[in-house]
Amino acid sequence: MELPVLSPAEPAAKSGCSSSSCGSSNDQMTGLPAHILAKVQDHPCYSEDAHHYFARMHVAVAPACNIQCHYCNRKYDCANESRPGVVSELLTPVQAVKKTIAVAANIPQMSVLGIAGPGDPLANPERTFETFRMLSEQAPDIKLCVSTNGLSLPDCVDELAKHNIDHVTITINCVDPEVGEKIYPWIFWQNRRIKGREAAEILIERQQLGLSMLIERGILVKVNSVMIPGVNDQHLAEVSRVVKSKGAFLHNVMPLISEPEHGTFYGLTGQRGPTQDELNDLQDACSGDMNMMRHCRQCRADAVGLLGEDRGEEFTLDKIENMEIDYAAAMVVRAELRADVIAELESKRAAKAAKQNVVSLVSLSSAPALRPVKMAVATAGGGVINQHFGHAKEFLVYEASAQGVRFLSHRKADQYCAGDTSCGDGESVLGMTIKALEGCEVVLCSKIGFEPWGMLETAGIQPNGEHAMEPIEDAIAAVYAEMQAAGKLLVQPAHQLKSA
């Protein structure tokens, strides 16, 4: 049996993310109108294709916030944690511009500057817009974007349009105040702190108004939602429908990050995040109506580099102080690189369109009852299986089925926090990695040690080092075919039956 690869194999991804089809619904980009495609083709957070080639950075100029979310702790200063709303150092607008220009000159793939916190950018309008104003003058080749909780958005839409910001992300976790009051304990609105249902009502109304106002002005809107099991998980498909009907073009459902050591309401009260399967199922449920983003890495409010990597350490304030930058020269290099990459992406899109016309090689009628299988892959880039199991900081998870191979998600192996002395929970790294691979039946890597091999097998995950250096999708298709030949695809695996 030969399986079609649902997304085309791409050679040599030059990036922190190495999957060749890493991202959202397979047709995320092909379904977009040309004028939107032109806007997002070099934006790593809006285009799954682009994120292999283009980098982004966030500057932490916006510490103030006008609402409280139960997944956020406003003590935002932490060097170790990798999650939204956390930063190492706050910047003034002047420092932020200096840092942005230093990064843009040294990392020419850096196409996008975002302001994402650590508070709400639009609750810090002076600092946020001062940064945008200086950057649009001094570095006109950098795309500017902003994310917001939406409360102040209607007041800021005209200012955003003035600064030529054509991408805005709004975090919308609900469209129903009954759900909202379980997520937002208070908002600050018209000189008062407002709690409970009323707070949620106002916030939702402002978010929806802001969304419509942005669409009227031709500004692209992505909606982020945090999936909180038992709170809004049943509700997010409705959110997806509503925001799409108002004109949002991409929906990014992210898992709640919630650990007691984060000190958040949800962390301390034991509210769990979704399992990977729950998240994937919800993303699939929403994808019928909406373009879904699946390559989000939930990065910090001061992240620098390609998605999945953070080079912030190279550009601390004391380091950029000593950098000599000729930005005019850098702009020439940046423009050349951008043109090259966009030409490459366009030729790939054309190849992909041609490939989709090829008739599937699988005879579906001959294998109607085959169950899908999830497999994890350790890769250091280039779209091939080329990483040692123990060196993998993240795994790419694919699903193989009779219909082919598709990318599902990234899974971190180092679980958001590297500060073991301050916030470790005593669990071994290996144990956490195996937990992260839950639901996968196979893990493909270049090599693997004796001890993890045994632990993986015990956990019901088959390690496989036989496909080292092979293209990911081809290897997964081969393993799936072997499983079929061995009769393993007609029955549920033992460990899944146990939990069922």
Partner: protein, 94 residues
């Protein structure tokens, strides 16, 4: 009468632009209130603006040292959990 910002302040800047008397200023290690300028917003607002937006419980006190936002009032985290968290952070520091 004047309010006080104490060492729990996380320097988020939220209060500074709201003060009708420009009594709040950035300082190290945290923001401060000039007691000569602070009126606790009397005559300008129904409630002191710094305390209305401050996200950190107990960071703003009145002249008697009483917090305007007592423990649990903003986050909704039950008191016994807050207490356990404080003890854990003390242990981590020692």
């Amino acid at each position: 009468m004047a309010l006080i910002i104490n060492e729990l302040c996380v320097n988020c800047f939220a209060c500074e632009p709201l003060c009708p008397n420009k009594a709040i200023y950035e300082a190290k290690p945290h923001f401060l209130i000039n007691p000569d300028l602070c009126t606790e917003c009397l005559g300008d607002h129904d409630a002191p603006q710094c305390a209305e937006i401050c996200p950190i419980e107990c960071a703003i006190e009145d002249e008697f040292g009483d917090p305007l936002n007592p423990p649990g009032s903003l986050t909704g985290i039950p008191l016994q959990m807050l207490q356990a968290e404080v003890e854990a952070s003390v242990r981590a520091r020692t």
